[in-house]
Amino acid sequence: MFDWIRPRELKQLGMLSMNKRNIDYIARYNDRSAFPLVDNKLLTKQIVDEYEVASPSLLQVVREQHEIAHFREQVANLDGFAIKPAKGSGGKGILVITGREGEDFLKPSGSRISLADIERHLSNILAGLYSLGGSPDVAVIEALVRSEPRLSAYSHQGVPDIRIVVFKGYPVMAMLRLATQASDGKANLHQGAVGVGLNLANGHALNAVQFDRPISEHPDNGLRLSDIRIDNWRYLLGMASRCYEATGLGYMGVDLVVDETRGPLLLELNARPGLAIQIANGQGLLPRLHAVEALKRPHLTPEERVHWAMGEAGAEEIMQPRPLETSFAPALHA
């Protein structure tokens, strides 16, 4: 219970602290005026579209209380969709519908929800129940993301998503978040989702944590987490990197999912990405952030930046990585 680590050890590991993240990265590299872009999912969708970053297709936007009445007609022939508050944060207020049963709708857990319940949920979103600071909000209705089966096998109900921290346009750290029974199908680490650190060089699993403690198998289905490989890794990193051009945010978290038909899609951007990714990777962010800051001539295109980041992570050397061992020596210490 009372397990502590000395500040000196944390420093040697290069762990980024909350205070340092806020002062030295978010306040310094993230322009306040860009925050609304990422705090509003609707704006994010529109802006990244111009930079060839795909996101789940937009079905409908409910802006006013009276529009809720039309919602019924519009969803009449839809099987699955997701309702999100545009200004929600941390996955709050997201309602996912995966199917129908008679008049009722089905949630990923299999439980039923009536149309009246959905309409009440929409009304709550409009009132600002889930938005930052309780300001009035709009509800965004998106097409359902059906996760690529190889990845979804690792997740309990929810869609696994990939969080990539992008610093000045360079991907610096990545992890895969898997929902569990404990997290109630949500990919939220502090609710009990599993975080799997991903090798930036090739998208292979490094090691995994649940509730901040290392694990090696998925707690629900017992699959070995070290076997996880993300396909199209370079493309995913490229997508994340392009979001830098789209928003201008120097330090952000990019959340991606892989759809079985449409491929990688952007779920949301986060201007204040959390620190748990460091525990999932077993490494601190600071050495990598410093390496980017030390670049005399930053790369201009997303492709160059991704290439550099993968090279820094040892893309050539590590042909056959041995995950869950400390073989991944941070090549960024240079």
């Binding site: 009372f2 397990d3 502590w4 680590i5 000395r6 500040p7 050890e9 944390l10 040697q12 590991l13 762990m15 602290s17 909350m18 205070n19 340092k20 002062i23 030295d24 310094r28 590299y29 709050k92 009440r120 009304s123 709550n124 009132a127 600002g128 129940l129 309780g134 609710q191 944590v209 901040d212 403690r213 290392p214 120097g250 460091q278 525990i279 077993g282 490494q283 601190g284 400390t326």
Partner: protein
């Protein structure tokens, strides 16, 4: 990507801290304000505030002011009243402050301030020469019969003026009053009945006006006290209990026959009193005794009217509360519900004292959460939900006060010190937290908020903090400097040392 040099910032902060410390040292050396609260002598600052409506003609106001009240030594007297001529007159032991102005109209406010040192050995006022006679009293039937019956009853059990007075008070304040008592008290107040009875028995008696001294009280009024002459001197009795003598915390403001306040050229006059217990160093008291109109330094808060001083005493503690919140959130990393909610709760604790305050706070929030559960099922819009919650909190507060009062706990009443809107928002936040993250998180944040509130309370309540913040207001520059420096802290929080503990495996 703004990357300015931090040197000017640190220089400015250092200057700020240095300026604060230097000013404090100067005040200490020049004014003799001590660093520690212990080396001080209490001084009561009593302020009489007169309000009236002037009629637009010459105005003359006079107020009875104390002269050598028993148990106190008068240090300074001062009047604040722009445009008015002021003088202190004295006629036949009747000491009066007199304000005059050629022309005034509209609402007027006059202040009279006096500083008193509690002094058990203070000289009593010299007695007026010549014998003191009882005033003649004419009572009408049936009061006269009742009075003489009551007096006979009391005289039978007493041996002198003092014991007679005690007996009369006992009879008049008895739990089961007889017919005579009821008749007399039905016409006059207790104290004037006593004066009439004693005078008709040939014992000189009068009503004196006393002021109960409590720190930082405002809008107080005078209470009647009974004075009886035993042939040598005036004895003072509490007409409510019969106790003889003036309690330490009572100042006899008026001991003469004249009216307390007399206003010519105006109407609707009222006088009320504010008081403040100051602590001044003995050195300074000596100094102001030597020259009573000398100010306590141009930058001293003691210059303000007493009402504002009481307010400032509270306000000046707020920065310390804010500092505690900064320390707990930035260095320790405790989660609280609402950034400065703990400070406001701590301020309420200062008024209620800790344990009753905690009990009241927890019960209001718990009841509020239960009711909020019902509100959330009503599916209301946010604004009306919060508004409804504010009204519910009001009901809960009133309920707790009434039930507490009925059960004999005056602590129930203290709940009114909590800011309603803050309570309502706290309940709303806690409730949303409960729905989204579960009871565990509510407990963590609730306990965190209360912990920070209690710490802030302890800091704000400590005599040293109270003394320094009020006597050395410039030290707040130092607090400001520390808070600015804390805003630059990029190191690990204490809680992160635990959170990141699994990283030990990768070291």
């Amino acid at each position: 990507m703004i990357r300015r040099s931090r040197a000017p910032f640190y220089l400015a902060v250092m200057l700020l801290i240095l300026a604060g410390l230097t000013l404090a040292v100067i005040r200490h050396v020049q004014m003799g304000v001590p660093w520690l609260p212990g080396k001080q002598q209490p001084v009561w600052l009593v302020e009489a505030r007169i309000d009236f409506e002037a009629w637009g003609e010459p105005v003359k106001v006079n107020l009875n002011i104390p002269e050598q009240p028993p148990g106190f030594y008068t240090l300074t007297e001062q009047a604040a009243s722009p445009g008015y001529g002021f003088a202190i007159t004295e006629q036949q032991k009747d000491r009066r402050a007199e304000w005059t102005i050629r022309n005034a109209s509209g609402p007027q406010t006059l202040y009279f301030k006096t500083r008193l040192i509690p002094d058990a050995y203070a000289q009593e006022a010299p007695l007026e020469p010549g014998p003191v006679d009882a005033t003649e009293v004419f009572l009408e039937e049936p009061a006269a019969t009742a009075a003489s019956a009551l007096l006979q009853q009391a005289e039978a059990r007493s041996s002198g003026p003092a014991s007679l007075t005690r007996e009369l008070i006992t009879l008049l304040t008895s739990q089961t009053p007889d017919q005579n008592t009821r008749l007399l008290l039905g016409q006059e107040s207790l104290s004037s009945t006593l004066v009439q009875l004693l005078n008709s028995a040939g014992i000189p008696a009068r009503i004196a006006d006393g002021l109960k001294l409590e720190d930082a009280r405002r809008q107080q009024t005078l209470e009647p006290w009974l004075q009886v002459h035993d042939g040598d001197r005036w004895l003072t009795f509490d007409p409510r209990t019969g106790a003889q003598g003036v309690p330490e915390d009572v100042l006899l403001w008026r001991q003469t026959q004249g009216p307390l306040l007399d206003v010519m050229g105006g109407s609707g006059s009222r006088v009320h009193f504010s008081m403040l217990r100051q602590t001044l160093p003995a050195l300074q008291i000596l100094r102001s005794e030597a020259s009573s109109d000398r100010s306590f330094g141009a930058l001293s808060l003691y210059q303000l009217p007493v009402e504002q001083q009481s307010m400032f005493r509270m306000l000046l503690l707020l920065p310390l509360g804010a500092l505690v919140v900064c320390l707990m959130r930035i260095l320790v990393g405790i989660k609280t519900s609402g950034t400065f909610m703990p400070v406001l709760i701590a301020v309420a604790f200062v008024q209620t004292s800790l344990v009753p305050g905690l009990a009241a706070f927890i019960s209001v929030v718990t009841l509020g959460l239960v009711m909020r559960g019902y509100l959330s099922s009503l599916n209301l819009l946010l604004v009306s939900r919060i508004s409804a919650l504010i009204i519910l909190v009001l009901f809960i507060t009133a309920g707790i006060s009434i039930i507490g009062y009925q059960m004999g706990f005056s602590t129930g009443m203290t709940v009114t010190f909590f800011p309603m809107v803050i309570l309502a928002w706290t309940i709303e936040r806690m409730s949303i937290l409960w729905e989204e993250e579960g009871a565990h998180e509510v407990l963590i944040q609730g306990a965190g908020s209360l912990l920070v509130a209690i710490l802030a309370y302890l800091v704000m309540r400590s005599p040293l903090a109270e003394h320094l913040s009020f006597n050395f207001p410039e030290l707040h520059l130092v607090v400001l400097g520390i808070i600015l420096l804390l805003g630059q802290y990029t190191g690990y929080k204490l809680t992160e040392l635990r959170r990141f503990a699994p990283m030990k495996g990768y070291h």
